[in-house]
């Protein structure tokens, strides 16, 4: 008997009488909500920052915000940067990136999260190995809560996607959350309409 057959047989012998699967409500709040404002507040609690007014010149904004940045990887058509994901021959080459600029198709007001996938990142490692990450987000793409977020088709279609919520952090030393951890040191979301 294979391990698979053996495990499934043991499970079917032992599993308790079937229980009902409950329906999951969306838990939307009754009152009208300012979703972009809630998103800004939630992201702030996770040490991320949101720029609600899109800068007229993204290049000037990024150069000013990250003056030491030499290699800026742009995964969006509206900003050139110094390289694009397709320039990376190996995924580990993303380690030299100072700033990654990418667009998210979805924000979550409840948590301040943004959705990213292989479609936006193209080379997944640019979302983690870059020193800093800048996310463009159309405020119209912000949903109320996590229940709404998991209704997005990406979770059923893409090979890899994630809800990213602020910069990489760790509370493993002295239970104090700090933000140099293994991935990006800062996360900046910019409200920028889709063209």
């Amino acid at each position: 008997m294979t391990a698979r057959e053996s495990i499934l047989q043991d499970i079917r012998t032992n599993q308790p009488a079937t229980r009902t699967l409950p329906a999951v409500p969306k838990f939307h709040l009754d009152q009208p909500l300012d979703l972009p404002q809630l998103f800004v507040q939630s992201l702030k609690t996770m040490a991320g920052e949101c720029v609600p007014d899109c800068p007229a010149d993204l290049d000037v904004f990024i150069r000013k915000r990250f003056p030491a940045a030499k290699r800026i990887c742009s995964a969006v058509p509206e900003y050139k940067g110094t390289c694009t994901p397709v320039d990376l021959s190996r995924w580990s080459d993303a380690c030299d990136i100072d700033v990654t600029v990418v667009r998210s198709p979805l924000g979550v007001a409840e948590t301040g999260s943004v959705l990213l996938s292989e479609h936006e990142l193209q080379v997944n490692s640019i979302g983690f190995l870059a020193h800093d990450i800048v996310i463009l987000l159309d405020p119209r793409d912000i949903v109320e809560n996590i229940h709404d977020a998991y209704a997005h088709p990406y979770f059923q279609e893409t090979g890899y996607c994630l809800l990213m919520t602020g910069p990489s952090g760790s509370g493993d030393i002295g239970a104090v959350t700090v933000h140099p951890a293994q991935a990006s040191m800062t996360l900046t979301a910019i409200f920028a309409s889709r063209s």
């Binding site: 995924w91 380690c95 190995l129 991935a183």
Partner: protein, 464 residues
């Protein structure tokens, strides 16, 4: 296998007041943050009930959902493996690595691989394994197992870590600063990520409908481990499965709030397919879970989502530290899990609890933890797994407490004994309570005597 004596192991931790106070303080703060986060969600209790029902439904149809998961994962291009036990699991991992001549592996934190002792298994076979979670890496460098499910090195002070890093990495021992130390780790771990030939993760959830593995981290180390090398291996216990994404949302809302009080972790990631030119393997591990499913009283412990809220609130855990449990899973949930792995070795653990019920109250999936702890005590009694000294003491206590006359004689004589007996007689080896505490002075009179002299007299005077 010798029996773990949690109380004895906790004694040395308790003697070190610095670490005891440190752990108690930071874990209670986490419990407070959890309460605050829960209060901010009006549907919190409804979410807990939903989570419990979803888990119970899935576990009662586990075979069906595992097959659905396997079919969908295979359709995504993932190779699915099944492992009956820890050894089979480790053999599969080693075979996958060997086939690709892998000698360097980065892995994110996984309690399952701790349970399977995967790291030492691979290291003795020439694989260099780097733990990439900061806390887990600290424990690896210090040759210690994790002491907490979500914060493996939480029992260490910042000064402890500064000392460790200075010895291992040559950093400044005097800089006990979490930011500095996290940077030291980042700089030293980054090269391992870049040159690793394989990446390994655990999985917080498996989604049957989509064939996905979901990981939850604050550091992004699971994403780094799984995205940089071409070979990706995820090892997941079979009980981690849930039906669909709509159910995942319930658990994501509960998990981090219960663990740390944050609304969500920084990286909540869904892996469904291997990257281009890469391979993705998922190992479904039983290792005693299917047997536990058949334990009428104890199968609900399989609902656990590893948030550690029960540890953070437990007065015994907070003051004795996770290493004292001598087990892969510690604290209240460890107490009810570990005897299913080895009933004799972990037979003392169910007694490391005050049964105050706080663990049950904070559990996001409504496991009746303290009631299961009590039920495990009954099992230990039935299976003759209780130490003779403790058993005899309980028999005597049972007789005394159930007989009013005996009880009054005992309390009165204790009062006299404490006054006249020498120190060595009071603090004898059978006095467990007095092992780490001073026995208080006996009261001048017992409550019964006081009641007899006061209230009863008053009642009589009033003709009541």
């Amino acid at each position: 296998m010798s029996r773990v004596d949690q109380a004895e192991a906790a004694a040395s931790f308790i003697e070190d007041h610095l670490h005891e106070e440190h752990l108690d303080k930071i874990l209670w703060a986490a419990r407070m943050r959890r309460d605050q986060a829960a209060r901010q969600v009006p549907e919190w209790e409804e979410l807990r009930e939903l989570a419990s029902q979803i888990k119970e439904h899935t576990l009662s149809n586990l075979g069906h959902y595992l097959e659905e998961f396997e079919k969908n994962a295979q359709a995504n291009g993932v190779t699915v493996h099944w492992a009956r036990d820890a050894h089979e699991h480790n053999e599969i991992v080693y075979r996958l690595l060997s086939e690709k001549q892998v000698t360097t592996l980065v892995k994110s934190k996984s309690m399952l691989t701790e349970e399977c002792e995967t790291r030492p298994f691979l290291e003795t076979r020439g694989i260099r394994v780097t733990e990439t979670d900061l806390g887990e890496r600290i424990q690896q460098l210090d040759n210690q197992p994790p002491s907490h499910i979500t914060g493996p090195a939480i029992h260490k002070t910042t000064e402890d870590v500064a000392d460790l890093f200075s010895r291992v990495y040559g950093s400044d021992k005097t800089k006990a600063d979490p930011v500095y130390l996290a940077n030291v780790m980042r700089e030293n771990t980054r090269p391992d990520f870049l040159k690793a030939e394989a990446g390994m993760t655990g999985g917080n959830f498996l989604v049957a409908k989509t064939g996905a593995v979901v990981t939850v981290t604050n550091e992004g180390n699971a994403d780094l481990s799984a995205n940089i090398p071409l070979l990706r291996i995820s090892s997941v216990g079979i009980e981690k499965i849930i039906p669909a994404d709509e159910h995942l949302a319930v658990f994501i809302r509960l998990l981090t709030r219960s663990a740390t009080g944050e609304k969500i972790t920084q990286f909540t990631s869904t892996f469904r397919r291997p990257r281009k030119d890469g391979e993705m393997h998922i190992i479904l591990v039983d290792n005693g879970r299917s047997a536990r499913l058949g334990m009428e009283r104890f199968w609900p412990s399989l609902k656990c989502i590893r948030c550690a809220a029960c540890m953070n609130t437990c007065p015994v855990y907070r003051r004795s530290g996770g290493l004292s449990y001598g087990s892969n899973y510690m604290g209240p949930v460890g107490i009810i899990m570990m005897p299913t792995f080895d009933i004799h070795k972990y037979s003392e653990l169910p007694f490391s609890s005050t049964l105050n019920g706080s663990c049950t109250n904070v559990c996001p999936v409504k496991i009746d933890i303290h009631e299961q702890i009590y039920a495990w005590r009954e099992v230990m009694e039935d299976r003759n797994q209780i130490k003779i000294v403790k058993k005899e003491a309980m028999i005597v206590a049972g007789k005394v407490l159930s007989n009013p006359k005996l009880y009054r004689i005992a309390t009165s004589s204790t009062e006299i004994a404490l006054k006249v007996l020498p120190h060595f007689a009071i603090y004898n080896p059978l006095n467990y309570w007095g092992k780490h505490r001073d026995v208080p002075d006996a009261a001048e009179e017992t409550f019964h005597e006081w009641y007899k002299n006061h209230r009863l007299k008053v009642s009589e005077d009033l003709g009541l």
